[in-house]
C-alpha cells in the first residue's frame, strides 16, 4: 500500500495548499511537501527592515475572494480577512490626469466621463450587459476560471460574457475574431481616450498578460475592461498576503492534511509511465526519504517538475525539447520597497481625488505607443529607459501593515531577468547584474515616483530593493525570478500550458504521465485566484471518485458577490481624501 493517496510537491504555495485542503476534506490521505520553511511561497509578508512595516514581497493584490475556496474551505473561519479601497486601480499621468477603476461602477463612469464621454458610455453599456443576469455571469465566470481551460469552454464563457458586452456597444465580433487580436488592437477598437486605454492595457499587463500578444492580450484587455473594477475581487489580506497562506494552512491541518516544510523533493518517482511517489533531497528535513502515493501533484513549474524532478528519460523526446525551451523570462519584476511617513500625493489628485483612494495603480506610459515601446524593450532584453511601473500602497486598504499613521509602498518595474543593456550601458546579461545595479535602479525608481508625486522622497523612512535574483533564491521553482509560473505567451497559454502535449485532452491538470497532475499556473496563470489548485483538486477527486461532496458546491465569484459589501474599505485612507 502506498503511504499516501496524494502527495503535493511544492505544496506550500497557495495553489498547492488549496488543492491539498480540498482533497483532505474530501477524505483522501494527503501529504504536502514544501521546500521553504514557510508556506505561502509567493504570498510572503516579511519585516525585512524596521519592524512594524510589513512588506509583501510577491503577491499583493489578492483575488482569492473570487475563489470557491472562500466558502468551500471556510477560509474566513481560518482567519482570512479581506480589505480593500474604494478604487481598485488607478493610473496617474504626467499631464496630471488619472484614469480610475472604481470598486463600484458609478465611480468609474464618473471618472471616465471626465476623460471621454463616449468611453464612459461604452463602459456603462458593457457592464450593464454583463451584469443584467448575475447568476449567469457567475456561472460563466466559474466556467472560465475554475474549469479546465479549453478553447471550447472559453468560447462558451466568452460568448456569454464578452460578445454580449461588445454587442451592446455595436462591436460585433465573434470569439475567434477577438482571439486573433492583440490587446492593444482590441482596446484601440473599443475606446478613444489614451488615458483609459493605457490604464486598461497596464492592468492586463500587470495581471501577467502582456497586451502585445494575440489571444492572451486581447482576452486580458477585454477582461480588465469588464471586470477590473466591478467583479474581480482586488483586495488585500489583513496583516499582509501571507495571511492567505495562514488560512489555507489552517484549513489543511483541520482537514487532516499533513504539511511538511523544509522538504525539498529531489525526484518524482515514475514507474512504468506512472507517478508512484517522491524522493526527498539529502538535505531535507527527512533526508533522502522515499514516500509513495497513488497520485502525485506537482505545484512546481514546468522545468523543475519535468526536467529536474522527473527526468528526461521519462519524457517523450518531443515534450522534453518543448519543456527545455519553456519561456520564463519575458518579464520579471524589479521591486523597490519603501517605508513612508505619508502616502504619496499624486499630481493628478486635483483631477480626481479618487486616485488617493486606490491601493494599487500605475504610472508612466502616457500613450498606447509608449506602452508598446515599453513592451518592445522587454522583448529585446533591455531595461526600459523611462520608469513605467506598477505601484502599491497596501496600507491604504490595511493600515495594520505599518505602524500607526505610517505606510508602506512599493513599485514593480517590469524588466528582463538577464538584461543586456540599460540606458547606454551594456550589462552582462545574467542574474548577477542585479547585485551590481539594484541600488542605482532603486534611485531611478524613487526619482520616477517623485515626478508623479512630488514630496514623496521626503516621506521615505527606509527603502530596499528586491530583485528577480532574490525571487529565484527564495523559490527555485520561479526560474530566474519568474512570478507567474512561466510567461503567458500564446504558445504557453490555456490548453497549451505549460507546453502542448503535457496536459491530457479535456483536462486542466492531468498529465500524460498517469497519476501525475499539475496545480501550478494551469489556468490563466497561478496567481492568488487559487484556480489552478481548485481545478487540480477537482480532477484528482474525480479520479479517486470523491468529487461528489455536498460541501463542495460554491461557484467562482459567488462568495464575493454575496459578501463584497461587507469587505472593509479605505481603512487607511485619510479623511481629507474620502470627500
Amino acid at each position: 500500500m502506498p503511504d499516501y493517496d496524494v502527495i503535493v510537491v511544492g505544496g506550500g504555495g497557495v495553489n498547492g495548499l488549496t488543492c491539498a485542503s480540498y482533497l483532505g476534506k474530501a477524505g483522501l490521505k494527503v501529504l504536502a511537501l514544501e521546500r521553504r520553511g514557510q508556506c505561502g511561497t509567493h504570498c510572503d509578508t516579511l519585516e525585512p527592515g524596521i519592524p512594524g512595516f510589513l512588506h509583501n514581497l510577491h503577491a499583493t493584490w489578492i483575488v482569492a475572494g473570487n475563489s470557491s475556496a472562500m466558502a468551500d474551505l471556510e477560509l474566513e473561519k481560518h482567519g482570512l480577512e479581506l480589505r480593500t479601497t474604494n478604487y481598485a486601480y488607478a493610473k496617474t499621468f504626467l499631464d496630471k490626469k488619472n484614469a480610475l477603476l472604481g470598486y463600484f461602477t458609478d465611480d468609474t463612469i464618473a471618472n471616465w466621463a471626465k476623460l471621454s464621454k463616449k468611453d464612459a458610455e461604452t463602459f456603462e453599456k458593457m457592464v450593464n450587459a454583463v451584469f443584467k443576469d448575475i447568476p449567469s455571469a457567475i456561472e460563466a465566470f466559474h466556467e472560465m476560471s475554475e474549469r479546465p481551460p479549453s478553447y471550447a469552454s472559453t468560447k462558451k464563457a466568452s460568448d456569454a460574457l464578452l460578445s454580449n458586452a461588445l454587442g451592446s456597444v455595436g462591436v460585433h465580433l465573434g470569439f475567434s475574431e477577438i482571439w486573433q487580436m492583440n490587446g492593444f488592437e482590441l482596446l484601440n477598437l473599443l475606446f478613444e481616450s489614451e488615458h483609459v486605454k493605457t490604464m486598461l492595457a497596464s492592468l492586463a499587463w500587470i495581471a501577467g498578460f502582456p497586451p502585445i500578444h494575440r489571444a492572451v492580450g486581447s482576452f486580458a484587455g477585454a477582461v480588465s475592461a469588464l471586470f477590473g473594477g466591478p467583479l474581480v475581487a482586488i483586495t488585500q489580506v489583513k496583516g499582509g498576503s501571507h495571511g492567505l497562506a495562514h488560512a489555507l494552512v489552517k484549513s489543511c491541518v483541520a482537514n487532516g492534511v499533513e504539511i511538511r516544510t523544509c522538504c525539498p523533493v529531489k525526484k518524482i518517482l515514475v514507474e512504468d509511465g506512472k507517478a508512484v511517489g517522491v524522493e526527498l533531497e539529502d538535505y531535507a528535513l527527512f533526508p533522502s526519504e522515499k514516500i509513495t502515493a497513488k497520485a502525485v501533484v506537482s505545484n512546481c513549474t514546468a522545468v523543475p517538475t519535468f526536467i529536474h524532478m522527473i527526468g528526461e528519460n521519462h519524457l517523450p523526446e518531443e515534450i522534453a525539447e518543448r519543456i527545455k525551451t519553456f519561456v520564463y523570462d519575458e518579464q520579471v519584476l524589479f521591486g523597490a520597497h519603501y517605508a513612508i511617513k505619508e502616502p504619496p500625493v499624486w499630481t493628478s489628485a486635483d483631477f480626481d481625488p479618487g486616485v488617493q483612494r486606490a491601493f494599487m495603480g500605475y504610472m508612466g506610459g502616457e500613450t498606447m505607443e509608449e506602452m508598446e515601446g515599453y513592451a518592445a524593450s522587454l522583448v529585446s532584453g533591455r531595461i526600459h529607459d523611462k520608469v513605467i511601473a506598477n505601484w502599491f500602497v497596501p496600507t491604504l486598504a490595511d493600515p495594520t501593515q505599518a505602524p500607526d499613521g505610517c505606510h508602506t509602498m512599493f513599485v514593480w518595474f517590469d524588466v528582463p531577468p538577464c538584461p543586456g543593456s540599460w540606458k547606454n550601458r551594456r550589462l552582462e546579461g545574467n542574474l548577477e547584474v542585479w547585485h551590481k545595479i539594484k541600488y542605482e535602479m532603486m534611485d531611478e525608481i524613487t526619482e520616477g515616483i517623485e515626478q508623479f508625486a512630488p514630496g514623496f522622497k521626503k516621506s521615505i523612512i527606509e527603502r530596499f530593493p528586491y530583485t528577480c535574483a532574490d525571487v529565484f533564491r527564495n523559490n527555485p521553482s520561479a526560474i530566474k525570478g519568474c512570478w507567474d509560473g512561466g510567461s503567458a505567451i500564446p504558445d504557453q497559454f490555456f490548453a497549451n500550458r505549460p507546453v502542448p502535449g503535457v496536459i491530457k485532452p479535456l483536462s486542466g491538470s492531468r498529465t500524460f504521465i498517469d497519476n501525475l497532475y499539475l496545480s501550478n499556473s494551469i489556468h490563466l496563470h497561478g496567481n492568488s485566484s487559487l484556480s489552478s489548485g481548485y481545478i487540480c483538486a477537482s480532477e484528482v477527486a474525480e479520479d479517486f471518485g470523491v468529487r461528489n461532496k455536498d460541501w463542495w458546491k460554491s461557484r467562482a465569484g459567488e462568495w464575493y458577490v454575496e459578501n463584497l459589501y461587507r469587505i472593509p474599505k479605505d481603512l487607511g485612507v485619510k479623511d481629507q481624501w474620502k470627500g
Binding site: 514557510q38 525585512p48 496583516g239 495571511g243 494552512v249 491541518v253 528535513l285
Partner: protein, 537 residues
C-alpha cells in the same frame, strides 16, 4: 475582526500571545479537550521563534539554537517530529577564539572539551574544568531541568528540600545557588582565560555575572554546550506547535491585538481586541509581560494595588542585543582553524575578548549605558549544519553582541554594523561582500515585540527579586493570579525566558488543575525521578 470570532462563541480558555509559551499552554489545553483560542498581535505566530526568509536566507532574528530542545515535554507529548520539527546537535558547540593562541573549544562530548583544555591551558586547568563540568551536569539533570517544568515553591521550602537531600550534589547545588556566578568560577579555581570562556556561555545571554543567580551557571554551561539547532530555522518549532494546536481542535488568530480584559461580577469573561471585537472566554491566560498583563489590560480600580505596584516596578534587562544578519557567498573560515580545524565546524564562535577582566569590564561598561570598547560577539553560520537555512550555494551568517539600549540606534546602526563585520573579519577574513546585510539594533526588538521593552528579550531582567518564586511576583509565579479566572504563564513568569517552554507547560498543568480537567499527558520521566528523590514534593 473575523466574522467567525463575532459569532458569539464562548471559549473555555483564551490565551493571549502566540509565543512559545502561549502556544505550548494552548496546545496542552486543547489536548485536554478544552475549547481554546490563541490571540496574537503580530502577523505571525511564534514570538521569539522568528525566522524571516528573505531572498532564500533564513534569518533567525531571536532564538537560534535551543538549550532544552528534546527535554521540552511538548516535543514528545505532541510528537512534534511528525509536524516537521527536528534538531541537530553539532559535535563542536562553542569555540572561544583568541587572536594568537589556540582556540578553546567546547564539544558536545565533555571528554573532547577536556582534551582541548589540556592542549590549550594545560593538565591542571583541564582537571578543574572536568570536576566543575561533571558537577554542573549532575546539578542540571537532577535539579534544574525537572524544576523547569513544575511550579516554584517558596524559597524557604526550596532550600529545605535541597538541604534535606541525601544526594551531596543536590546539597552542593543549594550552596552555590545564591552565589554570584563569578565567585563560583573562582571557587573551582579556573584561570583567567578559562573563566572568560566559561562565563561567556552565560553572559552573552544577558545574564549578569554579578547577580546572586549562581544556580543559572550550571544550566547555561551544560545546556549551551549541548544546544540543538532547529532544522530549517527556529520558526519550525512554533510552526509545528501551531499545527499541533489546530490538530487538537484549537484556534489561532494573528493580527488580533488584545487591548483590555473584560470583567463581570469580579471575574474575567473575555477580551476586547484593538478593532473593537469582544471575544468571550471563561478563563484568560496572558503570556505577556507584567506591564501589559496587569496595567494595560485592566482599569486601575479593577485589580489589587500590589499587583499594579509590582508591574510598575518591573525591571527590564540592562543589556540587550545588536545583531547583524548576513547573506554570504562563503561560510566563515577562521584563522584559528589553522590551530584547530574544528573551529570552522563550531555551532558558535565567541570572539572579541580574551581575558576575564576584559569580559567583566565590558559588561560593566554596557550596563552603565556605554557602547563596548571591544565588541564581544557570538558568530554563527547555520548553513554549515543545515543547508535548509540558506539558498543552495550560499550561507547565512549571524553576528550577535550585547549593547545598551539607550543609544541613538537609528543613526548608529549602520556604522556599528560595519564595526561588527570588521571584528568578525579580524577572525574570519573571508567575511566580505555580503549579498545581503540586515542590521538589527535593540530598538527593533522593542518595535517587533511589545513584550520586549527596552530590548529585554527575556521579558524582564534576571535578578534575584524577579526570579524563581518571585517571577513576576509571589502572588502570580504559580500561574494563578488574585484575579478570578486570570492566569499568567509567559517568560516573565517562573522559570523565565529562553526557549524552555517551562512557563507554558506549567501554565497548562495549573489551569487544568484549577478547572478540574483531566490531563491528557503524563509527567516526563525526569520529573518523576526528581519526585522520587524528594526534590519535588
Amino acid at each position: 475582526m473575523s466574522v467567525w470570532l463575532q459569532e458569539g462563541k464562548v471559549y473555555d480558555a483564551i490565551v493571549i500571545g502566540a509565543g512559545i509559551n502561549g502556544l505550548t499552554c494552548a496546545a496542552y489545553l486543547a489536548k485536554a479537550g478544552l475549547k481554546v483560542v490563541v490571540l496574537e498581535s503580530r502577523h505571525e505566530a511564534g514570538g521569539a521563534l522568528v525566522t524571516e526568509e528573505f531572498s532564500g536566507f533564513k534569518f533567525n532574528l531571536h532564538a537560534t539554537y535551543h538549550m532544552m530542545a528534546e527535554y521540552m515535554p511538548l516535543y514528545h507529548d505532541f510528537n512534534l517530529k511528525s509536524y516537521g520539527l527536528r534538531y541537530v546537535f553539532p559535535e563542536v558547540q562553542t569555540a572561544f577564539l583568541y587572536k594568537k593562541e589556540k582556540p578553546l573549544v567546547f564539544y558536545r562530548d565533555p571528554k573532547k572539551t577536556i582534551e582541548c583544555f589540556k592542549a590549550v591551558l594545560g593538565e591542571g586547568e583541564a582537571k578543574k574544568f572536568e570536576r566543575m563540568y561533571e558537577e554542573f551536569k549532575q546539578m542540571t539533570e537532577k535539579v534544574l531541568i525537572p524544576l523547569t517544568y513544575v511550579p516554584p515553591v517558596p524559597p524557604v521550602d526550596m532550600v529545605q528540600l535541597l538541604q534535606d537531600s541525601k544526594d551531596p550534589m543536590v546539597r552542593k547545588f543549594n550552596e552555590i545557588s545564591e552565589m554570584r556566578p563569578i565567585d563560583i568560577l573562582e571557587e573551582y579555581g579556573l584561570s583567567s582565560r578559562a573563566k572568560a570562556a566559561v562565563l561567556s556561555l552565560m553572559t552573552l545571554w544577558g545574564v549578569s555575572p554579578f547577580e546572586a543567580l549562581g544556580y543559572l551557571l550550571p544550566l547555561y554551561v551544560v545546556r549551551m554546550t549541548d544546544a540543538g539547532l532547529c532544522l530549517g530555522g527556529s520558526h519550525r518549532l512554533s510552526s509545528a506547535l501551531c499545527k499541533a494546536l489546530i490538530k487538537e481542535g484549537g484556534e489561532i488568530y494573528e493580527k488580533a491585538e488584545v487591548v483590555k480584559v473584560s470583567m463581570s461580577g469580579g471575574r474575567v469573561d473575555g477580551v476586547h481586541l484593538e478593532d473593537g471585537t469582544l471575544v468571550k472566554g471563561n478563563c484568560i491566560i496572558s503570556t505577556l509581560d507584567p506591564k501589559q498583563s496587569f496595567l494595560d489590560f485592566f482599569e486601575g480600580g479593577q485589580i489589587d494595588n500590589v499587583l499594579q505596584e509590582n508591574a510598575k516596578n518591573w525591571k527590564w534587562e540592562e543589556r540587550t542585543f545588536f545583531t547583524v544578519h548576513l547573506g554570504l557567498k562563503q561560510a566563515p573560515e577562521y584563522t584559528s582553524a589553522q590551530k584547530n580545524p574544528d573551529v570552522n565546524r563550531a555551532l558558535s564562535c565567541i570572539l572579541g575578548i580574551e581575558e576575564i577582566d576584559e569580559l567583566l569590564e565590558n559588561i560593566e561598561r554596557i550596563e552603565g549605558g556605554a557602547l563596548p570598547e571591544k565588541i564581544e560577539a557570538r558568530a554563527t553560520c547555520t548553513t554549515v549544519f543545515d543547508r535548509l537555512q540558506g539558498p543552495i550555494g550560499y550561507h547565512t551568517g549571524r553576528f550577535e553582541t550585547t549593547v545598551p539600549f539607550d543609544m541613538d540606534w537609528e543613526s548608529l546602526k549602520d556604522g556599528f554594523a560595519d564595526k561588527c563585520l570588521e571584528t568578525w573579519r579580524a577572525y574570519a577574513p573571508n567575511i566580505v561582500d555580503p549579498v545581503h546585510t540586515y542590521a538589527y539594533p535593540p530598538t527593533y526588538i522593542e518595535k517587533k515585540f511589545k513584550t520586549m521593552v527596552r530590548g529585554s528579550f527575556k521579558h524582564g531582567s534576571y535578578e534575584p527579586l524577579q526570579m524563581g518564586y518571585f517571577r513576576p511576583n509571589d502572588l502570580c509565579s504559580q500561574v494563578r493570579t488574585p484575579i478570578d479566572g486570570y492566569f499568567v504563564c509567559g517568560s516573565s513568569v517562573y522559570p523565565g525566558g529562553m526557549i524552555l517552554a517551562g512557563p507554558g507547560y506549567i501554565g497548562a498543568n495549573v489551569v487544568c488543575e484549577e478547572l478540574g480537567v483531566k490531563k491528557a499527558w503524563e509527567e516526563p520521566a525526569i520529573i518523576k525521578e526528581a519526585r522520587k528523590s524528594g526534590i519535588i514534593e
